[in-house]
């Protein structure tokens, strides 16, 4: 079986948010909606304190609570382990938002233009007509789907492709020879909140 996943090396991450922007550009998410984000927090105490950046998106958990919670089957897992949403089936009950421990889901209550009281930007105009922006729908839940359209074409997710520090590696977690599997073993990569039993498919090499 294939189980697609990602390793993010926090030692390499330079906190540039290019993954955030690449995701935005690829998926043309509505105003205020970021499927991929970088959280920042401080660890340690002065004078040894440092800032840690933690890029986060959907964890594509093997035991995904959102898949079980979804009453309609709109959220489902593909054979390659990617958790995705069929927006045509979603009723917008927000139960998946409630049960996701990683805050990776967004309920789209309204779709607004990026800048209020100004015309649509050229990018918005283009995105709404060409780039699948029309697939964004009010009243449903959205999230990162590892750029399934790109993966189905043999490409990497946009965030991986755009990472300037090569901090993100994408591949098959079930293949022990894959680069992600080797990194997880060699660099002792860890999952976030493994105690919840969700078995995320995104691993982090500690900073």
């Amino acid at each position: 079986m294939v189980r697609l996943g990602m390793v993010i090396d926090l030692k390499k991450c330079v906190n540039c948010d290019s993954c955030t922007i690449a995701c935005r550009a690829e998926n043309a998410t509505p105003q205020g909606v970021f499927w991929s984000r970088v959280f920042r927090f401080e660890v340690g105490k002065y004078p040894y304190a440092k800032l840690v950046s933690l890029p986060m998106a959907c964890m594509h958990c093997r035991e995904a609570p959102c898949v079980d919670a979804c009453p309609t089957g709109a959220t489902y897992k593909r054979n390659d382990g990617i958790v995705t949403i069929d927006h045509e089936k979603c009723v917008g009950c927000k139960y998946c938002v409630i049960v996701c421990p990683y805050g990776s889901r967004f309920f789209i209550s309204s779709i607004n233009q990026y800048y209020a009281n100004t015309p649509l930007t050229p990018y918005e105009r283009l995105a709404r007509t060409l780039n699948g922006y029309k697939h964004h729908e009010e009243g449903v839940v959205e999230k990162c789907a590892f750029c399934v359209e790109r993966i189905d074409k043999g490409l990497e997710p946009a965030c991986v492709n755009s990472c300037v520090a090569y901090a993100r590696v994408f591949g098959d977690l079930d293949n022990p020879e894959s680069e992600v599997s080797r990194l997880i073993t060699a660099k002792h990569a860890v999952q976030i909140s493994p105690e919840l039993g969700t078995d995320p498919s995104v691993y982090y090499i500690p900073p």
């Binding site: 927090f41 986060m56 709109a74 139960y95 909140s193």
Partner: protein, 312 residues
Amino acid sequence: MGSNAKPNLQRSWSWKIATYLFLAGTGSGCMFAGSLANLSNSDLSGIMRLAMWLGIPLVVIGVLFLMWDLGQPSRFMNTLLKPNSSWISRGSWILTCLLILTFALFGLWIWPFNLLSNVPVAVTALEVLIAIFAFGTMLYTGPLLAASKPIPFWNTSMLPALFAVSAIVAGLEGIDLLLTLNGLLQVNLPPQTLAIIGHYVAILIPVEMVLVVLYLWGASQTPTGRFSSKTVLFGGLAAQFWVGYVVLGLLVPLLAVTFRFGFVAGQTIPSITLGSALGLLGSFLLRLIIVSAGAKRPIMTFGGLIVLPGDM
């Protein structure tokens, strides 16, 4: 964020869901109590009829609130698709079955279907099924919230018990309210009916009080749950909890039932009306407080703490 950062209260579900929980709970509590009363004592069959008249509109209106909260209400029927794993789907099935059964019972009261009511076994079976599905409706909202592992305030086995007892109390108080208008509704009931209901309310309110204490104590065992409990007891929800729920919703109704013994149905008794109305208010506030106080536990990783926004 520092290690002392406070979690955010969830904002995905709000007063519309709380109203649904209240109306569905009260309506089903009503039907459950009415069915049991009728099955245990045929003299109380009027209560069953009263419970149906009250319970069905409450459940239906509650479902409308639930649909109002949906982002895509026109796809509501999709919620029936996954009863094997989703509590929302299970609840949709339970509600659907309950409404079909109650409409079938209504049909038996209307000509020409009332001729079928001469088959007592069928009527009894219908009433038993209504009691079962009404109990399911009262109960399922507990696991619905309790299944949310990231929200420790909800993720407790005490919640189903608390919701079930609160729903029965609210259902009895709803019947009470209608009974005080008995003359208007022309329901023939034995004179001791109000005393019987008062007896059960007097027992169940203290049970609910104990369950609330145990619930809040249990929820306080984790840092995020403790934050939610503190918000309820001392924070932004304290006035709703202490004044609205504890005093007006529990203590006043409990005092009111102690004055009722000896009164007879057919009288409009202000203390009963007031006590029951406040009890219903308390039942609503309980659900509103529990829904509002849910907070998602922060992500603790790599020595830091990430507090998730309330709408995630």
